[in-house]
Symmetry: C2
Subunit: 430 residues, 2 copies
Amino acid sequence: MAPARFARFAVVAPASAPGPWQPIAGGLTAPQGFLAAGITAGLKASGKPDLSLLLAPEGAVCAGSFTTSLVRAACVDLCAERLAASGGLARAVLTNSGQANACTGERGLADSLTATAALAERLGLAAEQVLICSTGVIGVPIPIDTLVAGLDPLVAALARDGGAAAARAILTTDLVEKQIALEANLGGRRVRIGGMAKGSGMIHPTMATMLGYLSCDAGVPAEQWQAMLRRVVERSFNAITVDGDTSTNDTFLAFAAGEPLDPEHVAALEAGLTAVAQHLARAIARDGEGATCLIAVQVEGAVDEAGARAIARTICGSSLVKCAIHGRDPNWGRIVAAAGRAGVPFDPQAVALWLGQHQLMAAGQPLAFDRLAASHYMRDRAAGTYLGSDPASGDTVAIRLVVGAGPGTALAWGCDLSDQYVRINADYTT
Amino acid sequence: MAPARFARFAVVAPASAPGPWQPIAGGLTAPQGFLAAGITAGLKASGKPDLSLLLAPEGAVCAGSFTTSLVRAACVDLCAERLAASGGLARAVLTNSGQANACTGERGLADSLTATAALAERLGLAAEQVLICSTGVIGVPIPIDTLVAGLDPLVAALARDGGAAAARAILTTDLVEKQIALEANLGGRRVRIGGMAKGSGMIHPTMATMLGYLSCDAGVPAEQWQAMLRRVVERSFNAITVDGDTSTNDTFLAFAAGEPLDPEHVAALEAGLTAVAQHLARAIARDGEGATCLIAVQVEGAVDEAGARAIARTICGSSLVKCAIHGRDPNWGRIVAAAGRAGVPFDPQAVALWLGQHQLMAAGQPLAFDRLAASHYMRDRAAGTYLGSDPASGDTVAIRLVVGAGPGTALAWGCDLSDQYVRINADYTT
C-alpha cells in the first residue's frame, strides 16, 4: 500500500502566456475539431477511470517524442514505428492506465496491435492511424478482453468537451489532473492549443511515468510541425527532472489539424506551444512524489542553450540541492558543486548565484548574505505566501546561476526531495 | 545541527583477500618505512582530530586521481600540478579537515602553498614534494595560522604506528574510520599494502567528500604504478555511488616505496591493490548518510567491462532502486528500468536478474517468485542475520544482472536511500 501523499498541494498556475496567447477554459478539446473521452473500463482495481481517447480531425499531423530508455514498452515501439512509416499522419490515440505493458514480451506487442485494430474498426480508420499509450505497473499484461470491451462505450463517449474526462482517465498516482488551453488571435484568426499530461516526473518506473498530449487547430506541414515540437520538447519535458529515473513508457504526442497557418505566425505559434508544454512539464515536476515545492533553475551565460540546460537540469536533479531546499537551507555550495559536475565547460571564477532576490555568490566567491532571510524565502515560497518580487510564480523556489558571458540561457524545473518521497517509494509494491 | 545518524552500524568486513594476500593489523603505516600522524590542531569547532600527515620513504612514487568536477578546490589543483610536473614523485601529504578550501578564490591557493611550504621546511623536503588535501565546508577559508601552528606537533607525532591516528584526523561526518592492510609473500619476500579513506560516498559536497590514500612497500616505476592505479581506481572508487553528487575535493593518492618488485609478481600486486581500494570504497558506500545496508550489483554479459560498470553503477545510483531496497521491496522493474537508461547497448530480451539467490527474470520476462522470501532476504541482509549462501558478505544486498553473452563483467556498490538521508541533508547548515 502506498502511504498518503502530501495533502497540501497547489495546482500550478497557468504559464504566464507569451505574446498574444491567453489562457482559456478546457484542455485537449479546446482546439476546434478535436474530440475526447475518458471512461472506467475496469482495468484498474480501484475502479477509477482508466481508458482515454483523443480523436483528431481529418488531415491531422502528429509529432511524437519517446523515452530514450533501451527497455521500452511495446506500445512505445508501435507508436514510433507507425509515425515513422506514415511520416507523421495519425488520427487517434488510445491510453490505458493500470498496466504499462513493458517487459511483457511478445504478448505486449500483440495486445497493442489488438487494441489499436479494434479501435480503428470502430472509428472507421486504418489501424496505422491509431496510436496507443499505456501506463501502470511494469511486467503485468493488459487484461485485453476488458480493454476491448471498453472500446464501444469509449467511442460513444467521444465529445467536444471530453478533454477533462480524458485527462482524468490517464492518471495513475498523480494527485491532480494536468491540462491547459491557450488561445491567440493570429492575423485575425483564432488559434487554440490544448494539452494534457500525467505523471510525477521520471519517478514512477513501475507506474509508467510521463505521458503528454497536445492538440492545435492550426494546420502545419508535418515536417515543420515535427521540427517545432522537437524544440518545444527540449524546452519543456526534457527540461524537468524529479529523480532521473527515465521510464520505459515516456511519450509525448502532439496533433495539429486545421486551416494552414500563415507562415508569418509560425514563430508566435511555437511560443504558444512552448508555453503549453512548459505548463504541463512544470505541473508534472510539481506533482513529484512527496514534493512540497517546484524548483526553477535559470542558467545564463553558458556557451549555448543546450549547455545551459544541462547545467540547470543537473542542479534540479541533485539530491543534495533537493534536500537542502526541502529543509529551506540556503546551502549554496551544493548548487555550485552540481553545476561543476554537469559536464559543461564554464569558468568557475565567473560564477554568480541568486536564490530568489538573494545574491549568494559573485565572481566565483561567496558573498555575505542573510541566511535567515534566504531560508524564509524558501519557506514562504513553498507555502505560497511569498510576497517578494522575483519573477517565478506560485510555490516556486527560483535559482539563477550565471556561469559566464556566453549566449546560452535555459530554464529547468524540478521539485524538492522529502522523507515522504522515500516512504512512498520504499513501500510501493509490498 | 546535523541530526543523529543511524546508530546501528557495522564496519565493513575486510575484503576477502585474493590469492596470496592476507589481512594484517594496521593501515597506512603497515608497509615498511611509512610514517603517519594525526592530531587536533583546532581547525574543527568540535575539538576532534583535524590534521593528518603521511610521510613516505625516500624514493617514493605517487599516483593521484582527482575529482572530475569543473569546480574543484585549490588543494586539488595543487596536487594535480605537482604530480604532473614531477612525473609522480612526492613524499608527503598533509590533510586538514574542517574546511574544504573550495570556492575560496586566490586565498585558497595561497593557503595551500603556505601550508605545504611550511611543512616541507619542517620535513627537510622541497615544497613540490609535499601534497595537501582538504575536507570540510565549501566557501570557508582554512584558519591558516592555526594550521601552521599545528605543524610542529604534527611532525613530532609522526610514528611507525601512526596510521590509525591519521585515519581518525581526516574524518568529517563519517561514522567510522576506514583503514585496512594486506600482506603477501611474493617470491619469498613480504609485501604490504595499507590504505585509509574518509567520506560517505559522493554525498557530502559541503563536507568535501571522498579522500583515499594507499601505501605500498614494494618499489614500482612511476609510470607503471600510475597505470596500475588507474585500473584500480576504476574498479573501486569509480565503481561506487551514493547519490551522484561528485565533490569539489575528491582525491585518491597512492604511494609506493621499497625494493623493486620482480616483474612476475606485478599482477599479484595489482590484485592486492584492487582489494585494498575496493575495501575502502565499499566502506565509504556503507557509511553513506542514513544507509542501512550496502548494495552490490554485478553485471555480466555486457560488451565490455566499462559498459558493465556503467550499467551496474546506474542501478546503484537509482533513487527508486535505493528506496525499494530500503523498504525491502523486491520491485525488480526499477532495476531493469535503471539498466535501460544507462546509455549502454544490450538486448532487453536477453536480460536475467537475481536478487540474492532469487531469480526474478529470465529472457527479458518476469518469473514467478516468492515475494515474501525475497523481501526477507533483504531484511535479513541489512540486519546482518542472513544465513543463505549467496557470495556477498556481511550486510550486503546482492543484485546480479545478466544482459547478454558479452565478455564484460563488473561490480559496483552503493547503499539504500532512507528518510534519514533526507533529514540529514535537509537540516545540514541551518
